[in-house]
Amino acid sequence: MENKNLHKTENHKEHHISSYKDHFSTLLALLLLTVVTVVVSVFGADLRSLSVATALLIATVKVVVVAYYFMHLKYDMKLYTWLVVLVAVLFVAFTALTSIEYFNR
C-alpha cells in the first residue's frame, strides 16, 4: 500500500478526511459547470455540432470532478485511478471504433 505522507500504523486511521468546506467547493464547481452546459445548450441551439461536443466535454469534466473529489480517488491508492482509466479507455475505444465503422460505410 502506498503510504508516503502518512505514518500512522493503524490501518483505518491513515485515511485522509476531506473537509466540509472542500465538499462544498466541489459542489459549487459542479453547479457552475451545470449552468454552463444548460446555457450553451439553450442559447447555442443553432450551433448544433458544437453543442454536442461541448455538452459531452462538460459532462466528462463533471464526472472527473465527482470521481476525483467525492469518490475520493485523489486520496486513495493509485490503483483505483488506473482501473477507472482502464475502463474509460475500453469504453472510449469501443465507442470510437463503432463510430468509425458507421461513418466508413
Binding site: 500500500m1 490501518n11 483505518h12 485515511h15 478526511i17 476531506s18 473537509s19 466540509y20 465538499h23 462544498f24 466541489t26 459542489l27 459542479l30 453547479l31 451545470t34 452546459t37 444548460v38 445548450s41 439553450v42 441551439a45 448544433r48 453543442s51 454536442v52 455538452a55 459531452l56 462538460i58 459532462a59 463533471k62 464526472v63 465527482v66 470521481a67 473529489y69 467525492f70 469518490m71 475520493h72 486513495d76 491508492m77 483505483y80 482501473l83 475502463v87 475500453l90 469504453f91 469501443f94 465507442t95 463503432t98 463510430s99 458507421y102
Partner: protein, 209 residues
C-alpha cells in the same frame, strides 16, 4: 466457524478489511459503468441513424425539470460525501442527518421523475401506446431509449435510497462508527455512481439539440 475437530480458523468471524470491501465495491461499479456504457453506445448508433428524429424528439423533454433533478443529485452527492466526513470525525448525529438529507434528495428526484413520466405517458409517448406506435421509427426509438435508460437509472435511485436507509439504521444502532465506516463509504460510492450516470443522461436526452 466451528469444525467437528474443534479447529477454529484464525480470526474467524472477525475479519474486516476495509480496503478489500472498497475494491469489491469499485469492481461492482465497473460492471455498472459497462452496463450503462452499452446502452450509451446503442443510443449513439440510433442517434447517428436517426439524427433529425432524435433532435426533434429531444425538444419534447422538459429542460427545467431535468436541470432541477441534476442540481438535486449534485447536492445529494455532496451531502453523502459530507456524511462520510462526519462519521470519520465521530459526529454520528450529523452523519445520520446528512444521510437523511441524501434520502430526501432521492425522494425529490423520484417525485420530479414521476411528474415528467406522467406528462409523457399522458401524451401517449410510452412504448406500446397508440400515439407512440403512430410515431416515425426514429422518434419512437428516442422515447423507447428515454424510458429504458432513465427507467434503469431511476431503479438505481430507488436501490440507492434503500441502501442509504440501511446505513441510517445501522449507524443509529451503533454498528457504524468513526473506526468502522466502510458501509457509509461504499453507499457513498454507489450513490456517486448514480449521480455520474445522470451527468451523462441529462445532456444526451435533454440538452443535445
Amino acid at each position: 466457524m466451528e469444525h467437528a475437530s474443534g479447529f477454529v480458523l484464525p480470526n474467524s468471524g472477525h475479519n474486516r478489511d476495509a480496503e478489500a470491501s472498497k475494491m469489491g465495491m469499485w469492481l461492482f461499479l465497473f460492471t455498472e459503468l459497462l452496463l450503462f456504457g452499452g446502452l450509451f453506445i446503442v443510443y449513439m448508433v440510433y442517434r447517428m441513424i436517426n439524427h433529425e428524429a432524435f433532435l426533434l424528439s429531444s425538444f419534447e423533454l422538459d429542460v427545467t425539470m431535468g436541470t432541477i433533478n441534476t442540481v438535486v443529485l449534485l447536492v445529494s452527492s455532496m451531502t453523502i460525501a459530507m456524511s462520510i466526513t462526519a462519521i470519520q470525525k465521530g459526529n454520528i448525529k450529523l452523519s445520520v442527518n446528512l444521510l437523511y438529507a441524501t434520502l430526501a434528495a432521492a425522494i425529490i428526484f423520484m417525485v420530479i421523475k414521476y411528474f415528467e413520466w406522467s406528462s409523457k405517458i399522458h401524451h401517449g409517448l410510452f412504448p406500446g401506446m397508440d400515439y407512440y406506435e403512430s410515431l416515425p421509427k426514429g422518434e419512437g426509438l428516442f422515447f423507447y431509449l428515454y424510458f429504458f435508460m432513465t427507467g434503469l437509472h431511476a431503479l438505481h435511485i430507488i436501490i440507492g435510497a434503500v441502501i442509504i436507509g440501511v446505513v441510517i439504521y445501522r449507524t443509529k444502532k451503533g454498528l457504524v462508527t468513526s473506526e468502522k465506516y466502510t458501509l457509509t463509504e461504499n453507499a457513498g460510492l454507489y450513490w456517486h455512481l448514480v449521480d455520474l450516470i445522470w451527468i451523462y443522461l441529462f445532456p444526451l436526452f435533454y440538452l443535445i439539440h
